[in-house]
Structures are given as structure tokens and as C-alpha cells.
Symmetry: C2
Subunit: 200 residues, 2 copies
């Protein structure tokens, strides 16, 4: 088994969601597992000077069309939620907290959370929604919600986001394969080539 595919994501990123629906089967075809790592786009924007896609004149309107079309192209169910984007720090902490004790359940939570927001339009920044998603993957939501209020998990997420930025992560999804950086859902074809042939 070769090194895992490192997959940086934000729960509010449509292209992260699309890629999350495709990367595991893609990796599996080449004997790779996926190591999901949360980032917060708000933090990367501070470093890059970028702003949320939908706030950019002209590009924002195009992006909404491209989210939908890219989802249809990938045959992944998608409905742009309202509100969009949302704060994802709570969901990111919950993912991280789960990952420490039960990585497989953390991955189930990741997919359930993405789908709650981008398929059913449920606002993941609200605690009741987050609790529903936790329940859905068999996690007792009360202790989970208490855990993610603790300084330790807050600091852990902050440190991981800082480490991601230090590594050059400026957006999401942002993937590393054997140390090679790939930004965007639309780089999956290049990732597949890399997995198949090695460096090209």
C-alpha cells in the first residue's frame, strides 16, 4: 500500500464535496486510501488575499452555474444550499475529534455532513443539524458537542490549518499525492494519471 492521498477540504466548499464523492474509489483503483484533513477557507483567504468565490463580481455568478454543471458532469447529486457559504469550524472540529478516536467513523461523518449540506440543504453551521449528522453515523451528539468546545480540539484544528497554509494550501479541495500538490476538483484527471504512471 503506497502513501495515502492527503485531501484538504472545507465543509462549505462545493468542489470539495464533489471531489469527496469521487476520490475514494479513484484512490482504491490504485491501492491508495484517503487521509481527509479539514481546513478553514477563511484562514487561507487571509494569507492569499482571496475571497469567497461567490463574492467575486462576474466570477461569482459563473461559479454557481459551474457548481451545478460540474456536479452533473460528475454524476454527483448537488443542490446549492442557502445560506452559502457557511461557517464550518464546528463541523471541522467534530470531524477532527472523531478522527482521533475512530477514523472510519470520521470518514462516514464527513460524507454525511457534506451530503446534509449540499444535497439536502441543511445548515451545518447550526448545532441541531450537526447533532443530527452525528446521530446519523452512530455518534452520541451531546458528548461530541461538549468535546468540540474544549480548548484542546480548538487548538488542534488551528494548528492543522496553520500547517496546511505553511504547506501551500490556499483553497479547497487541495490534495497531495506523494507530496505533489493538486488544487481543485478539476485536477482529478491529473491525479489519476499520477496514480497510474507516477510523476509525469
Amino acid at each position: 500500500m503506497s502513501a495515502p492521498i492527503e485531501f484538504y477540504f472545507d465543509f462549505s466548499s462545493p468542489y470539495s464535496y464533489l471531489a469527496s464523492e469521487q476520490i475514494e474509489p479513484l484512490g482504491a483503483r490504485y491501492g491508495r486510501v484517503v487521509d481527509y484533513r479539514p481546513v478553514l477557507l477563511g484562514a487561507t483567504f487571509k494569507v492569499s488575499g482571496l475571497q469567497p468565490l461567490v463574492d467575486v463580481p462576474l466570477k461569482g455568478e459563473y461559479s454557481k452555474r459551474d457548481f451545478d454543471r460540474s456536479a452533473r458532469f460528475a454524476a454527483v447529486p448537488f443542490v446549492l444550499p442557502q445560506p452559502f457559504p457557511i461557517a464550518t469550524v464546528g463541523a471541522a472540529r467534530a470531524y477532527l475529534w472523531l478522527k482521533d478516536s475512530d477514523p472510519q467513523r470520521a470518514t462516514a461523518f464527513l460524507h454525511a455532513a457534506f451530503r446534509a449540506y449540499f444535497v439536502r440543504g441543511r445548515n451545518l453551521s447550526e448545532n441541531p443539524v450537526l447533532m443530527d449528522v452525528l446521530r446519523q453515523v452512530g455518534v452520541d451528539p451531546e458528548p461530541a458537542l461538549q468535546a468540540i468546545q474544549q480548548p484542546a480540539i480548538k487548538e488542534q484544528l488551528r494548528a492543522q490549518v496553520d500547517a496546511a497554509v505553511a504547506r501551500g494550501v490556499f483553497g479547497a479541495p487541495f490534495l497531495f499525492v506523494d507530496g505533489e500538490p493538486f488544487w481543485g476538483h478539476d485536477r482529478l484527471p491529473q491525479i489519476e494519471r499520477w496514480l497510474a504512471t507516477g510523476p509525469f
Copy 2:
């Protein structure tokens, strides 16, 4: 013959160059010709608030790597030129001037100009280079250079750039197929699907 593929480009855009090497054969497979239309990214940046890719912290460094890798992925020769980016208003005017009288030669000029800059590293913003490229496609460079100093051609380019922005063009390459907007070299697979199946 269905409607042409409208292809907005800037001579200083690596992804425009990559797409320009692929779009004609792609279109031809589906009975489409390509209508190339110059824009000036400086003008679109003013509206969108965006800035040159390589100036964005983190993203700039990644982009240089991605230009090279995307070129190899597409099997298109590419060497990031120095200086980069450059002013392309002269080349854009020359393209437009040629297109009015001899569209086929204009397309030959477009490819020769892109390759001069992105394969051989020749600075297309310098008149002697522009003249070489014009000569290369059989155009007497002296009258061409005089023509592109005339107010008429300057105004024509300005009007076309304004029209592009009014249509939502915020970057390059930016393509329309049957009115559907596609931004970026990495949308060629979606364009191919559209050409093959119609709206999806």
C-alpha cells in the same frame, strides 16, 4: 455546421495557450469551428477585482507548477517565459486587424504568437518580436504595425473587451458553446461532453 465555439483569450495567459492548442481539433470532431476573440485580462481584473495569478500569495507558486504539469498532461510544449505576464494589447490589436481582412491568417498568427511566447520565450510585448511573428505568417509587418496604432483598431479592441466583460468574461480562456459559458482550460472535458450530447 453548428454555431462556432467562441474562444476568448489573452496572449499572456498560459491556460489560453494550452486550450488554443486543443480546441480546433476538439471542435472539428463535432463539426464546429473556433471564433477566437481577444480580451485583455487587465481590463477584466478591474471589474472582477482579481489580480494576476502569479501575484497571489501561495496560489502564485502553485500556479507555476500547475502550468507546467497541465502542459505535460495535455502533451503541449510549454516553457514559462520571462518576463511573465506581459502587456498584450499590441498583439491583440494585430490579431483583430488581421481577422477583419483574413480570418485564416489571423488564426495562424494567433498560434504563432502564442508559441513564440510560451515555447520560445520571446517577449511578444516588444515590437521586433511582434514583427517577426507577423513575418512568419506572411504578413508585411510595417503596414501592420502602423495599422494597429490607428484609433479605429484601438477603439475596436476596447469595444470588444467591454462587450466580453458585459457578457460575463472575467478570465481566460473563456469559451461559449451555444451560449453556455465555460471558463478555463480544465473545462475542455465538459465542453467535449456538451459538443457530443448537447446541454447536460
